[in-house]
């Protein structure tokens, strides 16, 4: 490259693991989607539909409603691709944030009846066994399960009720009959432990 001795050049190597490479491909695809590239959107769909649908289904439970929410989310990705800012986080995380938020919008605005169903469903969601049940050939599964199992029971239950159950931490405190402040800190230190256990880089 321009006046530099090629022998002296070594490419800097931050983030060359498969996860990082995937993230960067997805960033690139989203940039294409932002410019209206439908072929890129097909590839984005194939990468994101499974994770988005799985997460939504976990929170919403009802297959028909989950499908509706997943459709909304994926179309939001199409419409808002230009607003994805790679300097603020990975593309996958951007989409999972949208998916989770739309899913909890759906369950939190649902009727009291549905919320009662949610309650029993969410309690079931707290079991790591169920995590295993719904996943096939998923490389993240084993690791997440192992890391979830390394948490204290209270940390694990708080996190799974909040994330997979779609509950507010206030509702989690009520469900587990634990003080609000305790739930708040358990969710935080449990997640930090998960982050370190899964060696998440960002």
């Amino acid at each position: 490259m321009d006046g530099m001795n090629p022998r002296d050049m070594r490419a800097p190597e931050p983030g060359t693991g498969p996860q990082e490479r995937d993230d960067r491909d997805l960033d690139w695809l989203l940039a294409r989607v932002a410019r209206g590239d439908q072929t890129a959107f097909e590839q984005v769909y194939d990468r994101l539909a499974g994770p988005a649908y799985g997460l939504i289904r976990k929170v919403v439970r009802d297959p028909a409603q989950s499908e509706e929410v997943a459709q909304e989310v994926l179309l939001e990705v199409w419409r808002n691709a230009s607003r994805f800012d790679p300097s603020r986080g990975s593309a996958m995380t951007w989409v999972m944030l949208i998916a989770h938020r739309r899913a909890i919008d759906r369950v939190r605005s649902a009727s009291a009846e549905t919320q009662r169903n949610q309650k029993s469903a969410a309690v079931a969601a707290a079991s790591p066994d169920e995590v295993a049940e719904e996943v096939e050939a998923n490389l993240d599964r084993e690791r997440v399960r192992r890391c979830l199992n390394s948490l204290t029971d209270l940390q694990r239950e708080s996190i799974t009720l909040a994330y997979y159950g779609g509950y507010t931490y206030r509702q989690v405190a009520g469900l587990l009959s634990v003080a609000l402040g305790t739930i708040k800190t358990r969710i935080r230190d449990g997640l930090i432990r998960m982050r370190d256990c899964m060696e998440v880089t960002w």
């Binding site: 490259m1 321009d2 006046g3 530099m4 002296d8 050049m9 070594r10 490419a11 800097p12 931050p14 983030g15 932002a34 209206g36 439908q38 959107f41 769909y45 499974g50 994770p51 988005a52 649908y53 799985g54 289904r57 499908e67 459709q71 994926l74 179309l75 199409w78 419409r79 808002n80 230009s82 607003r83 790679p86 300097s87 986080g89 990975s90 996958m92 995380t93 999972m96 989770h100 909890i104 996943v135 998923n138 993240d140 690791r143 997440v144 996190i159 909040a162 994330y163 997979y164 507010t168 206030r170 708040k184 969710i187 935080r188 449990g190 997640l191 930090i192 982050r195 899964m198 960002w202």
Partner: protein
């Protein structure tokens, strides 16, 4: 107050899992804008939540694909969100480039303001001098702006004026480097690479503008990863190299 802050800070986990009620979420987001350690932590916890999501991925109903793709094909996309901060008043000669330059100005000002929040008087004087130099580049009649993704992620933005032989560079979202490594800015030309200084530590993911003068025809602006303190000549492949010519 300290207690309240502490209290807010422990909400990073619940926030990352969308487990706050609406009002609380807004209050926390307001806090996030001013609390860099919190936003850093939230970012890591969001990535962690993504792993929880990936662990429950499942095959979507087959009919969904066709429906989403055909609906997308009929759906108009939103334009990018532009910076809403007031732009400098237009000046005749460079009106066509105003939007781009104003956007760069907003970035530069935001970065400078970010620094000023935690600066001493001495630092403020230096920042002020730098701000004037940046303004001089931005308001040059031939000011141009180029943004580029870098090969390691994140973006680099160069604003330059060929007439005044000056430029400045800001970056957003470059990956953090291991201890003992720095990002170094260069003016790159065949047979003549000149160091233009080291990129400062990022604040909120962005690096403050680094100014350089003495641009020559055919120069590129580029950044390499170098040992702490910088190198006299680049020793690695640039993560970007942007031509500085109209």
């Amino acid at each position: 107050m300290t207690l309240l802050r502490h209290d807010l800070h422990t909400l990073t986990g619940a926030y990352a899992l969308d487990a706050l009620e609406h009002a609380e979420r807004e209050r926390f987001e307001h806090h996030l804008q001013r609390c860099q350690p919190c936003s850093h932590e939230v970012r890591g916890l969001h990535e962690t939540a993504t792993r929880l999501a990936l662990a429950v991925a499942r095959v979507p109903p087959p009919q969904l694909r066709e429906r989403v793709l055909t609906t997308a094909a009929r759906t108009r996309q939103h334009p990018p969100v532009m910076d809403q901060r007031p732009a400098p008043k237009p000046r005749s000669a460079w009106i066509p480039r105003l939007a781009a330059v104003a956007a760069a100005a907003a970035v530069a000002v935001a970065v400078v303001l970010g620094i000023m929040q935690s600066a001493t008087q001495h630092q403020l004087d230096r920042v002020q001098a730098q701000e004037q130099a940046i303004e001089a580049v931005l308001t040059a009649p031939d000011a141009r702006i180029v943004s580029h993704r870098t090969s390691v992620g994140g973006t680099a933005t160069v604003v330059f004026s060929e007439a005044s032989h000056k430029m400045f560079v800001t970056t957003a979202g470059l990956p953090p480097l291991p201890a003992g490594k720095v990002y170094q800015l260069w003016l790159i030309a065949p047979g003549s690479n000149r160091s233009a200084g080291l990129l400062p530590a990022p604040s909120g993911g962005r690096t403050a503008p680094v100014l350089a003068s003495g641009l020559a025809a055919g120069d590129k602006a580029g950044v390499t990863v170098e040992p702490a303190g910088g190198s006299p000549q680049p020793t690695t492949t640039p993560i970007f190299a942007i031509p500085l010519a109209g």
